[in-house]
């Protein structure tokens, strides 16, 4: 244990200061350094992402032609359930609020580590064991859970879903839920208590703000999921009747509890990626972020409203208050629109360059706008009655989630990879990855809107020739394969960067925030020296104190000096 006697400022003149500690596998298992834990989270969640992606490819293969017998109905049910569960619980959330947050937040706010390092390590191991239990469902008799990632109540009961698979699903999610709660506590405490001097709340970068709000949302939402899962387990094995009509329970209570978690969860998945994009756009536009306080306000408002809209997933149950939930859902469009305004304002008349992170950020803007607009359409109860549980909804949430977690997330990966490894990724391969990804993704998703309006229900294993859905499904599946290929390109890129490294230097992009003021990768306890913090972009201030007179460069304000 190190009692850190001095703020990092005192560590200056020790550039050769290397931390003595274990190395190799034992380091990955025991190190409480937030950077090691963050990398563990990042790579583990990417493995789960690739697994879930393979499941998606199998799903698209099953749907590529009518009356297909690629897999049985049972296999198909297990595949879409585990695809959804892995993507939602094990990839999209932990990728950002545990992976990137652990790696970046302490450096961005100028802290030596997370507030509770051992709790941080515990949450990683809870996440990993929970994830393995979840995936392990495939290896028990009866197969994995097959009731959809939402596990609606009568279907997830012991009568309709017997076997060990559903129980493993419940057990795994309880563990990952606790992992998320611990991470949330850690993040809030780190941002509240461990900021560098001068780093006031209204100077921490937008990514840190978004992670703070996300962490509070986690604290609101995840306990509800965990308690609902315990109730479901008790219903299945201990003879209680929370969700069974037989003993006087209310099945729709599960939906209420699940979506009270589930809708904030959507924003737990989205807000961190909003933050990543807000970090990328100003750097590659060479301007300060437009309307900093507006973005903070919008984030807080989105988070607040998102907790009051849970029942818009339950319009068709007939027992929810339609005007309240429709109204609240519409209201979310206002702060989200505010964010779009700020993002466009950030890029407006900037000196844009289109490196890979910027391409991903712009791809995010396009795709998330499409997904968000179809979400506004779905918030109207009459339309929701029409397209509920069709491929329209599937297309909507895939645009939202791939827009945020994949385009935003991998944009962040390309952006921060030089920081946490000290190496660059190859630009041409990154751009190829982006083009293949966005083309494949739009090919996959856009036909699904039409399929939904034509009435194709979600979660069906096959369809007949008579419905004329074949062409659109073929296009959609080909798009899916293109997405799969694009990640092969990404893996090649990683491999090349591993075998033939190009050193990145401390600040390859001309970054604004504090993480670019330290070395790549950062030293133990993150800083040899911290620059004075006088605005929300201290590294820019440090690098641009006095613009050369008469030259066409940007001053500290970001306005071109002529």
């Amino acid at each position: 244990m190190t009692l850190l006697d001095d703020r990092p400022a005192i560590l200056v003149d020790e550039p050769e200061h290397h931390h003595e500690g274990p190395s190799g596998l034992y380091q990955w298992i025991t190190s409480t350094d937030h950077k090691v834990i963050g990398k563990s989270y990042l790579y583990t969640s990417i493995v789960f992402f690739l697994l879930a992606g393979l499941m998606a490819l199998m799903i698209r293969t099953q749907l590529i032609m009518p009356n297909n017998t690629f897999g049985s109905q049972q296999t198909y049910d297990e595949l879409f359930t585990m695809h959804g569960s892995l993507m939602m619980y094990l990839f999209a959330g932990p990728f950002a609020f545990a992976g990137f947050a652990n790696l970046i937040i302490p450096i961005q706010v100028g802290a030596p580590d997370m507030a509770f390092p051992r709790l941080n390590l515990l949450s990683y191991w809870l996440y990993l064991s929970g994830g393995l239990i979840l995936v392990g469902g495939f290896f028990v008799s009866g197969g994995a859970a097959d009731f959809g990632w939402v596990a609606y109540a009568p279907l997830s009961g012991i009568i309709r879903s017997p076997g060990a698979g559903p129980d493993m699903w419940i057990a795994g999610l309880i563990l990952t839920g606790f992992s998320a709660i611990f991470t949330g506590i850690n993040l809030v405490t780190t941002i509240f208590y461990l900021r560098a001097p001068g780093m006031t709340m209204f100077r921490i970068p937008i990514f840190s703000w978004n992670m703070l709000v996300t962490a509070i949302l986690i604290l609101i939402a995840f306990p509800v999921l965990t308690s609902a899962l315990v109730m479901l387990y008790a219903d299945r094995h201990l003879g209680t009747h929370f969700f069974t009509v037989v003993g006087g329970g209310v099945p729709v209570l599960w939906q209420n509890l699940f979506w009270f978690f589930g809708h904030p969860e959507v924003y737990i998945l989205a807000l961190p990626y909003f933050g990543i994009v807000t970090e990328i756009l100003p750097v590659f536009s060479r301007k300060p972020v437009f309307s900093y306080k507006g973005l903070v306000f919008a984030t807080l408002l989105i988070a607040g409203l998102s907790t009051g809209v849970w029942a818009h997933h339950m319009f068709t149950t007939g027992v929810v208050l339609l005007p309240f939930f429709a109204g609240m859902s519409y209201l979310i469009a206002v702060p989200t629109g505010l964010k779009f305004f700020a993002w466009i304002g950030t890029m407006w008349r900037g000196h844009l360059t289109f490196e890979t992170p910027m391409l991903f950020a712009i791809g995010f803007l396009v795709v998330f706008l499409l997904g968000g607009l179809s979400g506004v359409i779905l918030a109207a109860p009459p339309i929701d009655f029409f397209v509920h549980d069709t491929y329209y909804v599937v297309a909507h949430f895939h645009e939202v989630l791939i827009g945020t977690a994949v385009l935003g997330g991998f944009g962040g990966f390309y952006y921060w990879y030089p920081k946490f490894t000290g190496r660059m990724l190859r630009e041409p391969l990154g751009q190829t990855h982006f083009v293949m990804l966005i083309v494949g993704f739009l090919l996959q998703t856009m036909p699904q809107y039409v399929l939904g309006l034509e009435g194709m229900p979600r979660r069906i294993a096959t369809y007949t020739v008579a419905e004329h859905w074949t062409t659109l499904n073929v296009i959609s599946s080909c798009g899916g394969y293109l997405i799969g290929l694009s990640f092969a390109v990404w893996l090649v890129n990683l491999w090349i960067s591993w075998r033939h490294p190009i050193l990145a230097g401390d600040d390859p992009w001309g970054g604004h925030t504090l993480e670019w003021a330290t070395t790549s990768p950062p030293p133990h306890h993150n800083f040899y020296s911290i620059p004075p913090i006088r605005s929300e972009r201290p590294t820019w201030d440090m690098n641009h104190e006095e613009p050369p007179p008469g030259s066409d460069v940007q001053g500290p304000t970001g306005i071109t000096v002529r």
Partner: protein, 169 residues
């Protein structure tokens, strides 16, 4: 006539002035805007704002739907905002601004002990895996829970002793 009115008005102003000061003083005391205090102001405001926001949502939701489940969840969300929020509010009135609360703080202002950060520990790994076994016990029977429970007990004991020794293993 006019003099009377004037004097009356000035009396009124004086009386009203007291109440004005009362509000302002209360506000300053509460929010630590008086000299020397005011760390944690925004932090407290975030949590208390959460509580206030959900109190409003709860009121609207309850009086438009009279639905119990959602109202209870919203009520507990209000409590979640109040609990840490009121703690930080309490301290924001009593503590000085920390260097990270001041706009003009120099890096040197923060010199001093920051906290203790354990470098490495094997016990979180043992604890995480043991709790994993406990969770598997939910599926495959209590004997796995027993295995996990023993492991978890050892890990908790280990991490506690590690802290007491105050040293890295």
């Amino acid at each position: 006539m006019s003099e009377n009115t004037d004097s009356g008005r000035s009396d009124e102003v004086e009386a009203a002035g007291q109440s004005e000061h009362w509000v302002r003083d209360w506000f300053r005391r509460s929010w630590g805007t008086s000299k020397g205090t005011g760390g944690f102001r925004f932090e407290a405001a975030i949590y208390l704002g959460t509580a206030a926001f959900f109190a409003v949502v709860l009121a609207i939701y309850w009086f438009t739907s009279y639905e119990g489940g959602g109202a209870v969840m919203l009520l507990f969300t209000v409590c979640l905002g109040l609990l840490p929020g009121s703690y930080m509010f309490f301290w924001s009135r009593r503590m000085k601004k920390r260097p990270e609360d001041r706009l003009d703080a120099e890096v040197d202002d923060g010199v001093g002990p920051v906290g203790s950060f354990p470098d490495q520990s094997v016990w979180p790994f043992v604890l995480g895996i043991s709790i994993g076994f406990c969770a598997l016990g939910l599926v495959f029977g209590p004997w796995l829970g027993l295995v996990g429970g023993i492991g978890a007990f050892c890990a908790v004991a280990g991490v506690t002793m590690e802290s007491r020794r105050g040293g890295n293993i």
